[in-house]
Amino acid sequence: MTGPGATAGGAGEPSPLVGAARALMSRAIAFAERAGDHDLAHRLEEERGRDEHSETTLVVVGETKRGKSSLINALLGRPGLVPVEADVATNVAVIVRHGPEVVARVVHAGAPAGERVEAEAIADWATEAGNPGNARGVELVEVWVPDPLLERGLAVVDTPGVGGIGSRHLETTLQSLGRADALLFVTEAGAPVSEPELSFLTRACERIATAVVVVAKVDAVPDWRAVWDANRRLLEARSGPLRTAAVLPVSSRLKTRADVLRDAEPALARDLHRESGVEALRTAIAREVLDRRDVIRVLNVLRLVQASLERLSIPELVAVAEPAQSDALRSELERAQAHWQSLGRANASWTVELNDEIQDLRLTMSDELTRAIARLGSSYDQLLADRSLESADVARRLSDDLRDLSVQTRESLHRGVEGVLASLAESLGLGALGTPEMAAPALGPDLVELTPRAGSAPQQGSPPVIGMLGPLAVPIGLFSSVGAYVGLGFAAVFPFGAAAGGILVGLTTLARRRNIRHQEARAMVQATMADASTALKNDVARRLLQVQRAIREDLRAAFERLSEDAKAAIARQQQLVAADRAQRERARSAAEARLATIRGLSTEIDRLAAALLAPENPPTG
């Protein structure tokens, strides 16, 4: 709250506190020069030279659709001055100043002269509805209206709301507050001030030491007093200027209605005006902002100095806590760590991808087999129909065909696994990991002893052997070879080894019986085919399971090896970094000394700010 002393200094000699603040500022400027931050020194100089009698800027902030624009209209008693509709959101700052008559001007980016517009047309420039996404490139809308409060040198700024989904980020809004002298923060009676609102206000008050908080829309909420109390308690629990901020219940709607009814129903209008709380708000603005403008300005400048000092202190702090590493070393270490992380990501995803790929392959192959068997089946239907063949020939031919099919299936499986390996390598980024290319081992000769010859019995004891297709062009060296995967246990069962019983019975019966009936032959062929189909499908599935296991093992091992390498690389880099750190430790003491200076100045600022804010602040300090 404000003491009588705080108003001193408006004219004549500045109060001692203000004088002390100026002296402190000079020291800060000198320090900034010494620290080599000429930009900062220049900015502080500029701030120091700012005209004491320039206008005082009150910026109205709050979440979107809290009623900021309505509040300004109500505050100035001008319904419809700043556009307010249910679905209209202000998206460009609107600054309202005192002028003899209502005039509006639009300032475009890069054209400071501005363009005169009708006051009724502001919505076309400053709202999301009239100027979506600010496509018209408006920087600012300026409005002048006659008003005694504004005439005292007050400028009121309406801002786009914060916190909405499409609205600007907190930082942008905070920066745009620029030279605000005080804040008018708008909250709503419907609910206590929220955490995002409170943290915005706290951040804003780091720069701007004075805030008036409004609880708006009290007309619509019967128990607004509960929220008002809750908000005051929440603010009192905060530190700094928020603790003492005035919190005022206001109804812009009642005030606007009073303004509209002023001539038609003067008595009701007077009541509504009083009940709206707007008059109390105007008084509070005069008392908290205009009467204390010098103190406010000094406080804000001190905050600016303090924030700037903090910024200056950051490199010093970094130097003290952890001497800077040379860029090359750091980026090397980062690269090693990024590599390690990308390994981790790939490692986390491959099981699922492998499963997906194998599953897909199984389905595709099953589909192919079904079609191939169907084609074969219909060709035998024709063959048996013309009865030109001996059943033994049919059996031989069928045996050959099935053998061909099994070879085709084997090749197709082979290609499929190759595809899986390639796609895994690509999606896991293994190619980029730079593993050495390994030559695929050459495999045994192509020994083909497929099915037993027609007429002979299955030979469980000496299984036929299938060799692999020579050396393979494996897409990446990581996998030892496609052949190794597909060949696992190939010889033992492919294609009808262990499961051959039924098929062979069919074939041998076919081969032995000369006078077999057409229907019977057909049924046997069909049964043989169905069994072959099942056996092949089962075999493919089993084999894929083995392939999957083998790939899994290989990948697991590979990832282990790669991560060992990566860990070693990180350790190496860390050693280099540590050596570098030791070398730079010497810079530390110098940094500490400068930091002490900064902290000293900052402490003095705190003390001074507390004195300026203190209610009993005596003029003689």
Binding site: E195, L272, E275
Partner: protein, 504 residues
């Protein structure tokens, strides 16, 4: 409508849990999985969340048709409250540590203000009520989010498992009703998105969230038709939240609460009658603000008027007086009309429709996500080898063709959200494929179709989607959708060919 929690997907996940329980040793993991099993057996759990004073408890009371949870403009709900179906009606307070304690409801059926335990030490409160809606959904009232009292919001975030550091593997809810008062804020969007990604992690999300614009009457008090303004606002918010919630529905929560809970007494109705006798201009001047209405020199004592205002708010009082002028007399008649006006039944219907219809997918998706978190917990109890083995169960279940339904549902949500552009006929086809239970219905065939016809239909459809998948003009989202559809059909075909389970 019947309970649909125990559908195909839930059955799969329940079976998966049994597999995991057969192998799991670590007590923490076992406990977590048993919790998941217990959740699967319950109706779909719908959490009502939102900022402080958004009207969450009011909405819960309105849906339950009685004023059981405390409401007000400041922070009133400090503990998570779970409303379940059960008889006799009873209350249990579950402390953070130790056994649950029974508490009696107040004589008027409301929850006692003091629960005998410091709210900070309460994990949640369970209330069993015999309202029929609770047979279909379990409702959960939560403390306000984005509260300036950090502790309040932390409780809700923890319960819903919104935060990564959460101790819980399972979210306490399968679906979310988010209560809004205004255009959605960034923090609100973040909460809704976080909840969605909880189930999105498993590619399983039907519509898991719905937004309710709860104080529709306060949006534009001077509008000729506040409902029109509310509907327009809801549409705008729906655009802003596309892909995050299934929709935005406006409601006048307080009016619904009062009308549905029969809280409007004959005294209130008489006061409304007397107000109706006033000159329209006099009444209008009273209804400008809450303070004016209570303080005005008018019929009834201020306390009675304050009570009426608490029950109906300014808009409701205005409408009730209007109804009285039209000749509606008595609390019952007024309540009926006000209930209509509140839009409550629409919201109730939408909540049931959106959530109960997708209960199977919602519950299965939430359960899978919970298992995922449980088995991938970085500091889990089980040994590394044990966890790897358990995760194998999870992965295998996820690869089961039935689980593609979850993916299809999420595609459908993408369609609704405008992210995936496919023709309405195809949407219907995918919906069939995702949610029908018999093979012939899934394929859109008759019951008398042969297995061969079904297999052919599945193969044809798979080919059709394959073309779509390879179409260069398709967007990535459409390719993903087409690929999922193709795989679903291929699996169905493979099952039909091999005489698998689904073909039965």
């Amino acid at each position: 409508m019947t309970r649909e929690g125990a559908g195909i997907l839930c059955a799969q996940v329940t079976a998966l849990c049994a597999e995991i329980l057969a192998d799991a040793r670590a007590p923490g993991v076992r406990q977590g999985v048993e919790d998941v099993v217990a959740n699967l057996a319950e109706p779909v759990r719908v959490a009502v969340a939102g900022r402080v004073s958004a009207g969450k408890s009011t909405l819960v009371n309105a849906i339950l048709g009685r004023r059981i949870a405390p409401t007000g403009s400041a922070e009133t709900t400090r503990v998570v409250t779970v409303f379940r179906y059960g008889y006799p009606e009873r209350v249990e307070v579950q402390p953070l540590t130790g056994p649950a304690r029974s508490v009696a409801l107040n004589r008027d059926g409301s929850l006692p203000e003091r629960l005998g335990i410091d709210p900070r030490d309460i994990d949640h409160v369970r209330i069993w009520l015999s309202d029929s809606i609770l047979q279909r959904l379990t409702l959960i009232d939560t403390p306000g989010l984005s509260s300036a009292n950090a502790q309040t919001s932390a409780r809700t975030a923890e319960f819903l498992a919104l935060e990564k550091i959460s101790q819980r593997a399972a979210s306490g809810a399968d679906a979310l009703v988010f209560v809004l008062n205004h255009a959605p804020r960034r923090d609100e969007l973040e909460t809704m998105s976080a909840f969605r990604s909880l189930s999105g992690g498993t590619r399983a999300s039907a519509a898991t969230a719905l937004a309710v614009l709860s104080k529709a009457d306060r949006l534009d008090p001077d509008a000729a038709d506040p409902w029109l303004a509310a509907k327009q606002a809801a549409r705008r918010h729906e655009d802003a939240l596309r892909g995050v919630v299934a929709g935005v529905v406006p409601v006048i929560g307080l009016l619904g609460e009062t009308a549905a809970s029969g809280d409007l007494t004959e005294q209130d109705a008489q006061l409304i009658d007397r107000l109706a006798a006033l000159a329209p201009s006099e009444l209008a001047a009273m209804l400008i603000s809450g303070d004016r209405f209570v303080r005005a020199a008018a019929p009834g004592d201020p306390a009675a008027r304050e009570r009426l205002l608490e029950r109906l708010d300014l808009f409701g009082v205005g409408r009730a007086v209007g109804l009285a002028r039209e000749g509606r007399r008595g609390a019952a008649a007024l309540s009926r009309e006000l209930l209509d006006m509140s839009g409550l039944m629409v919201v109730r219907g939408v909540i049931e429709d959106v959530f109960a219809r997708h209960a199977d997918a919602l519950k299965a998706g939430a359960a899978l996500a919970a298992l995922d978190r449980l088995l991938h917990a970085p500091d889990g109890e089980g040994s590394a080898a044990e966890m790897v083995a358990l995760r194998d169960h999870l992965e295998r279940t996820r690869l089961r063709p039935e689980m593609y339904r979850l993916g299809l549902l999420s595609v459908l949500e993408g369609v609704a959200g405008g992210e995936v552009a496919i023709a309405p006929g195809e949407v219907e086809e995918l919906r069939r494929m995702a949610s029908e239970t018999t093979v012939w219905r899934r394929l859109g065939l008759g019951e008398d179709s042969t297995r061969a016809e079904r297999a052919q239909a599945a193969m044809d459809a798979a080919r059709r989607w394959k073309l779509r998948e390879n179409d260069l003009r398709s967007s990535t989202a459409e390719e993903t959708a087409a690929s999922l559809a193709r795989r679903s059909y291929e699996h169905l075909w493979a099952d039909l060919e091999s005489g698998g389970v689904e073909a039965a």
